[in-house]
Symmetry: C2
Subunit: 414 residues, 2 copies
């Protein structure tokens, strides 16, 4: 597979995309959504091959479920594209145009990133989803999905490309890397000549591999060891409700709570009630000695537990003497994702918001809200846990950059 | 040298820095500026060792000049810090706080990046300069200068650390990597556990090495193959004035013009006058056949010339048939820095601004204005030629990130 050729085509398409207005982009998206539904049969046929191969290879049932498409799931993909159509296009806005003393007018215009690379794992719906967000913001996208979903991804990509071509729009706005070998993936990560930004979507191993190998700027979407600190003054009913929600509402997600930090003065009263509530979902609690001494069902936590993202019905619990210890513990072990304090103390709420180093910091709410839809962006390309460019849930804006535009009338530098 | 220890100290200092208000930060900066002047003798003594070693090793005279400090240069460093004191602190602003339908209040607060790593080359004034910008924005900085300036950098850093300690401020807000070996430098580039952002400042080789080796997010400050396109409708007097300025006002800088693109209809009239004007500074012109046929003194350009950043009294010149060819040529060979069009045609001006892919795009002005001071930021940590986070000249804002802060009253996710 000639990645250079792929890159060149993407770059060409990105220039064509940059010249499109939002009406043309929405027209293209509508054609793609409709084409997915119209071609559901051939997509399902391709998907059946992936599923068959997965089962033959002993794929875990949960993964087979994520891989498997149905007519309803294809309709949901199309529906997702319709939602992207309804969002405002951030491209083209000039953010702050000001006149300099020498008469130069200098402003910052919001523009597409150019070519976006996305490396992701099994779920084939990411293919349509990532394309729609990139297309809406005028970017060309190069997709590299997992080998498990290769037939499905090819079918979805071909369907979208055909729809774009039929509309007279650049079909190279979406290209799929069909060679899923490790060598090709690593080569893709070094295609900085053509790809402007690389976004990995998947587990910790995938993200680490991309960060370690890429010479393209990466937006790290991350794992979440999210903490909830229950302060001395907390409303314990609220604390239990929020912890139960953040731990058990959906366990396999990055904004689920994995670690509790408990003020020593409330452990006696909170723990028995918490053990009971979390027991409804058979959540295993791994605690320090203070927690264990109150709740005998609690397993002893090891140092390793403080840094774990379980993605399971397990939670760690650590007691602290004061909010400063809580903040130090969280800043030491967190992954920069989402952290919450439950408190009725004004100063501690402010202190926690100010001093916790994470993408999203909550007072008296569940960490599960860290999400592009819940934050009101209407879409999400991922949740950034790094500090450059975008931090936290990323909507359409994160798929754009700016350029300075300067109007002069002959100015030269003195 | 234990880089992990360095990283831990920097992280600790960054938390302390994050708690400081702007009055404390300005007090610290003032103490540092005054200390540099007060300790000029010892800094000059250390610098003399570097200069002596440089000369003994046959260092180029130009580099010796850049390395050498004088009382005046130390005063200029202090003056630079005073200028940073006078700038507004961007940290702490909450950018957009909105209420969601469920009552959650969600806003984005501007915060320091945390720990900034800066890898740079010979000039010791970068040490004080980079520190001041990082300190003002509440960041701890780990500096890695070149071995040529090691004694000077140690003296400057020690002077600043002592001044901070005396003020009761975190001295680990500035740390210097004193082991300048390649192995340690590469190890530093992988210290992602402690360093949030890495900024290389120097030549193309240094920047490439950082991009290729770093696992820390990098802000690429870049080389500039800056173009000026002289359109058919250009005011030729203006074109010559701008080209002369952009090429010769200062040759060794990234925003100097390296490449001309000329509309075929103006080549006949422009070239003889341009040859004469650029001749004042003995600028060598390397052109295509059309350019050569008009101006016999023009050297034949090779394919290699279109992509060169000469940083010298040399410029390439290419003719095109129309603005589309000009844009395609520039987008193919530029480095994403600064590009200008000289035109009186409204539509072509807009087209150029829209379609050129670069950090700064000019109409009728010299590319030399791409600079944090000229853009009105009051300071500059570098000029970004990548698209993530910051693009173009970077002032204090580029040394900050945001975090979402969320005020709730018990919300859980449905």
């Amino acid at each position: 597979m000639d990645l250079n050729l792929l890159g060149q085509r993407a770059k060409e398409a990105s220039y064509a995309m940059g010249r499109l207005g939002v009406s043309d982009k929405n027209r293209g998206l509508k054609a793609c959504a409709d084409a997915l539904v119209a071609n559901a049969d051939s997509i399902l046929k391709a998907n059946a091959l992936d599923v068959e191969k997965g089962i033959a290879n002993g794929m875990h049932q949960g993964l087979v479920d994520r891989l498997k498409l149905t007519t309803q799931r294809i309709e949901a993909m199309a529906e997702g594209i319709y939602q992207v159509i309804s969002l405002d296009d951030p491209v083209g806005e000039v953010i702050s145009m000001k006149q300099r003393p020498n008469g130069l007018m200098i402003g910052q215009k919001r523009v597409p990133l150019g070519v976006v690379g996305i490396i992701y794992e099994a779920r084939p719906n990411v293919t349509a989803d990532a394309f729609a967000l990139c297309f809406k913001t005028g970017n060309a996208v190069i997709l590299k999905g997992g080998s498990d979903a290769i037939e499905s991804n090819i079918a979805i990509t071909e369907c979208i490309r055909a729809a774009l071509a039929k509309e007279g729009l650049p079909e190279d706005a979406i290209q799929l890397v069909t060679d899923t070998s490790r060598e090709t993936t690593v080569e893709l990560m070094k295609l900085s000549k053509y790809i402007d930004v690389l976004i990995p979507r998947g587990g910790a191993g995938l993200i680490r591999a991309v960060v370690n190998n890429s010479t393209i700027p990466v937006i790290e979407t991350g794992t979440g060891n999210c903490h909830i600190f229950v302060d001395k003054s907390a409303d314990l009913d609220m604390a239990i409700s929020i912890i139960f929600n953040a731990k058990t509402q959906r366990i396999g997600v990055c904004n689920a709570c994995e670690s509790l930090v408990l003020h020593k003065d409330i452990v006696d009263e909170l723990m028995p009630r918490l053990v009971e509530k979390l027991g409804e979902k058979d959540v295993e609690i791994r605690g320090d000695e203070a927690v264990q001494s109150i709740a005998p069902s609690v397993v002893a936590a090891t140092e390793d537990d403080w840094g774990r993202e379980y993605l399971d019905y397990i939670i760690s619990a650590k007691t602290v003497n004061n909010i400063d210890e809580a903040i130090a513990h969280i800043n030491k072990y967190n992954t920069g994702h989402s952290e919450a304090i439950i408190t009725n103390d004004y100063n501690n709420a402010q202190k926690f918001l100010n001093e916790i180093d994470a993408a999203a910091v909550y007072v008296n709410a569940s960490t599960r809200f860290t999400d592009g839809f819940e934050f009101g962006f209407g879409a999400e390309i991922g949740i950034s846990t790094q500090k450059l460019h975008a931090r936290g849930p990323m909507g359409l804006l994160a798929l754009t950059t700016t350029k300075f535009i300067i109007y002069g009338n002959g100015q030269v530098r003195k």
